[in-house]
């Protein structure tokens, strides 16, 4: 009766790349630089390595599950009650994750382009289009992703190229003035946001078309590598232009865009670029919301997952308006608490699953 949606392996990788890059590309350079200075890109590479390891665990779990839906093989591995115990925090964190991205966009707009519009109006508009996108379904979203991705990356590249006249290589040194700990700190932040969030893709991976399932590992690793490379470029670009100020100014890419000035015609284009960067936020949130309703529908054994879209979106919308309404509070949670939260709620269940499935596999073969 209900046709399971399926997407190609490459399309899944595009969604993956989008999710990892979407909001982080604008936000990431600043907190990393404020703790790790010019070594921020090293932090990122470390986090990327960790990300690769996490992807390996994710892929292992997915393959060990035999292509079945995430909750299905979790239930068979852990049993009903333990699944609930483990997945409830997962779902709860994901609720706020969705809200959190929109909170970030809200602040972005408020501080830059739409200073007068009230937060609930901006967030409301965004949630409207996010919910409608999720309603269109996974296949439609996968179709939309490629062009939006090119748009986003195109603008990032455009910014980095247009400010190249302002690059000062000397800002990249010194790299490790205060030892390794700041680098590790930066890696810790980057691990929390966005890499540890990749575990939620466990919900989507079973939707890859069966005949392309063999290629998914390769595609996802490539996506992760592209993501890392893009981050490094963004960090290096920000460092080379903004220097020591990178850590102080939020939304580094936007700050770079503000500095673009070519004769008198191409100036103040940060508005256009700002709106284009929103595409990344919007689509990432849509992916996260889609994952959330799929997770909830599977957990609660609901047939029609799309029924949940609007209420869940409404809850996330209200969360975005009632929690962490000040920028400092948001900064605090993202930089301090988030890595711990994602480790406990996202990583721990999947790692646990990996261990259990691993033991089961060993027991089966012996």
């Amino acid at each position: 009766m209900k046709q399971t949606e399926s997407v190609g392996s490459l399309q899944m990788a595009v969604l993956f790349l989008f999710f990892l890059t979407g909001s982080s590309i604008v936000i990431i350079p600043s907190p990393l630089t404020s703790v790790a200075g010019s070594g921020a890109w090293l932090s990122l590479l470390l986090a990327l390595l960790l990300g690769m390891a996490m992807l390996a665990v994710l892929l292992y779990v997915h393959r060990a599950g035999g292509g079945r839906p995430f909750i299905a093989y979790t239930r068979s591995a852990l049993g009903g009650p333990l699944t609930w115990f483990v997945m409830a925090p997962f779902a709860l964190l994901l609720f706020w994750n969705v809200a959190g991205i929109v909170i970030e966009i809200g602040f972005f707009f408020k501080s830059t382009m739409l200073k007068e519009t009230p937060t609930y109006a901006v967030n409301g508009m965004l949630f409207l289009i996010i919910a409608l996108t999720v309603r269109a379904g996974l296949e439609t979203m996968a179709r939309m992703a490629a062009l939006l991705l090119l748009l986003m990356f195109g603008f990032v590249a455009l910014i980095l190229v247009l400010v190249s006249g302002l690059y000062r290589i000397e800002f990249l040194l010194p790299i490790l003035p205060e030892g390794i700990k700041p680098i590790l700190h930066g890696a810790y932040i980057a691990y929390g946001f966005p890499y540890a969030e990749l575990f939620i893709f466990a919900v989507l991976l079973p939707h890859v078309r069966a005949r392309e399932a063999g290629r998914i590992s390769r595609h996802l690793y490539i996506a992760l590598a592209v993501n890392g490379l893009t981050f490094v470029c963004a960090i290096l670009g920000s460092l080379m232009v903004l220097g020591p100020l990178t850590g102080e100014l939020k939304y580094s890419l936007y700050q770079l865009a503000r500095l673009i000035y070519i004769r008198e015609i191409v100036e103040r284009i940060e508005l256009v670029i700002g709106f284009s960067l929103i595409v990344g936020f919007y689509f990432k949130t849509a992916i996260a919301l889609l994952i959330l309703i799929k997770l909830l529908a599977a957990l609660l054994r609901l047939q029609d997952e799309q029924l949940l879209t609007f209420p869940v979106a409404l809850i996330c919308f209200l969360l975005s308006l009632t929690t962490y309404t000040t920028e400092s509070a948001t900064e605090q949670i993202v930089n301090v608490t988030w890595p711990l939260l994602t480790t406990l709620a996202y990583a721990a269940p999947v790692v646990l699953l990996a261990v259990v499935l691993g033991f089961k596999a060993m027991a089966d073969t012996s």
Binding site: M113, L114, A121, A136, A142, M144, L147, V272, F275
Partner: protein, 507 residues
């Protein structure tokens, strides 16, 4: 009325009677005594068996041809002596004895029918039905001559280079034109008769081997119930074939040029023609096709690629220019270069309305002007439209209802929307401009962004006969995109099929 129709249809299955009188009565009743139905007795001699009953519709037939036939000896001989010998025309060809030399063409233009219903159908098709004494079969002869438009220049799709023919209202002649341009045995046509009362002949055509099987299947599924519908024009077919009706975007395309139809067939599309309409329906269609026109293939690839990009730019302008102006002037004035900004502000001095209202008023008048221009008779048309445009533009500026910049914006938008080759897409864009303007006025750049994303989302979820509407943009297919915009692939080749049937291959 319906009871008579029922009894008529019951009588329709009745076989032809051996008596001329009862046949005469049956045919007259079937046509409700219509004044243009001619029922005549023709006598070819004094004997009782040499009388026949001819039935035809005066308004459909060529009366000169009928008069000539009555004189022809071969025709008389055929009717009085030959028809009795054979069950049907095919038997004639198998018979050992050859018919008289003059008879052969007469046989070819006629058929033998056995029921009243078949006779009625033949008369409606412009044939003359001739009932014979003591025969339970009748001979029908093609005598149709109805006023036809000659093929002429395409009215709605003019082009600079390339053939200047357009299709006419006759189904067979149109199919003939297509076959003349595409001489492939794999070009296949299916006929249907639609509607109980209108009995329109409809044809579906496709190039076997080029069209994908799943598309064909989807299409045939959609047109299953077509016999029940009263089809007056090709656009009525859109309701069956077109799929989603809640979208402003068209999922089929129309053309009246045979060369465009042939190109579509070569591309693996299915076309539909209706007798009485010069327009051909083409499906499935995807969004980017609305920016192509057959003229692209008559120019050099570089030029046609550039012109396609120009059309896309036109689309974006037609869609986004008014809203961008509103957003820029109301929300984001810092984005405009200072010199231009000063000019805009100076020109907007004294305008009592906010930008949105100004834009809505001007756009509304422009749309009104456009619609009015369509309906004006030709002698009056051009004068009124020029005066109207001048008056509205000039007067609006002088009375300070609109600023010069706004008039320019509206004019540019109008011009850009005329650059579309396809009318039904142009309408969609005209409609969608207005919600986008409202969004821009409320939320500025964010509103435009949201509007664009919503349109993109909507287009991505549309399908035309099961094919994604936005392909090759979504899902992204770089090869097809490149070919579409850069036309580097070289001379055009017909789509090769995955499982080629017999006959000529590839080309």
């Amino acid at each position: 009325m319906t009871m008579e129709a029922d009894s008529r249809s019951l009588a329709g299955e009745a076989p032809i009677a051996a008596e001329l009188a009862s046949n005469q009565k049956a045919m007259t009743e079937a046509f409700s005594n219509s004044a243009d139905l001619i029922v005549q007795r023709w006598r070819f001699g004094a004997l009782p068996g040499q009388e026949v009953l001819a039935v035809y519709l005066d308004t459909l037939v060529d009366s000169k041809l009928i008069a000539r036939l009555q004189e022809q000896e071969a025709f008389q001989h055929l009717l009085l002596h030959r028809i009795a010998e054979y069950e049907d025309r095919d038997e004639v060809e198998r018979a050992p004895s050859r018919p008289m030399p003059d008879e052969a063409p007469l046989w070819q233009a006629g058929t033998i029918v056995g029921t009243i219903r078949a006779s009625v159908g033949a008369v409606l098709d412009g044939k003359t039905v001739i009932f014979l004494q003591h025969q339970t079969r009748a001979f029908t002869f093609d005598t149709m001559d109805v006023e036809q438009r000659h093929t002429s220049e395409p009215i709605t799709e003019p082009s600079v280079q390339g053939p200047q023919r357009s299709m006419i209202e006759d189904l067979e002649r149109n199919i003939g034109m297509l076959r003349n341009l595409l001489k492939s045995p794999r070009l296949r046509f299916d006929y249907r008769i639609a509607g109980k009362e209108s009995r329109r002949k409809i044809a579906f055509g496709y190039l076997e081997g080029a069209v994908q099987p799943d598309i064909l299947e989807a299409f045939l599924c959609r047109v299953k119930g077509i016999e029940q519908e009263e089809i007056v024009d090709t656009s009525y077919l859109e309701a069956c074939v077109g799929g989603d009706r809640t979208t402003p975007f068209p999922q089929v395309r129309y053309t009246e040029r045979p060369d465009t139809a042939v190109l579509a067939l070569l591309d693996g599309k299915i076309i539909a023609l209706v007798h009485g309409s010069p327009t051909v329906l083409i499906c499935p269609v995807h969004f980017l096709e609305f920016f192509t026109s057959s003229e692209d293939y008559y120019c050099r690839p570089v030029f046609s690629s550039l012109i396609r990009m120009l059309r896309m730019a036109g689309f974006l302008i037609a869609f986004m220019l008014p809203s961008s102006y509103i957003a820029l002037s109301a929300f984001h004035s810092e984005l405009v270069p200072t010199v231009l900004l000063l000019a805009i502000l100076k020109s907007r001095e004294g305008i009592p309305f906010p930008a949105l209202l100004e834009a809505l008023i001007m756009e509304f008048f422009f749309e009104l002007l456009r619609e009015a221009g369509l309906r004006l008779p030709r002698p009056v048309g051009s004068a009124v439209s020029i005066v109207g445009a001048l008056v509205i533009g000039q007067a609006a500026i002088q009375s300070q209802i609109a600023s010069p910049v706004m008039v320019i914006v509206v004019a540019l938008t109008g011009i850009a929307s005329f650059a579309f080759p396809q009318y039904n897409m142009a309408i969609a864009v005209r409609l969608l401009r207005f919600p986008l303007m409202l969004l821009a006025a409320t939320f500025g750049g964010l509103g435009i962004m949201t509007g664009l994303l919503l349109v993109y989302l909507h287009l991505s979820s549309l399908r035309s006969l099961g094919q994604p509407y936005l392909s090759p943009l979504a899902p992204l297919q770089s090869g097809r995109l490149r070919r579409m915009f850069l036309s580097i692939a070289g001379p055009r080749q017909a789509k090769a099929s995955s499982a080629p049937k017999g006959g000529r291959g590839g080309r």
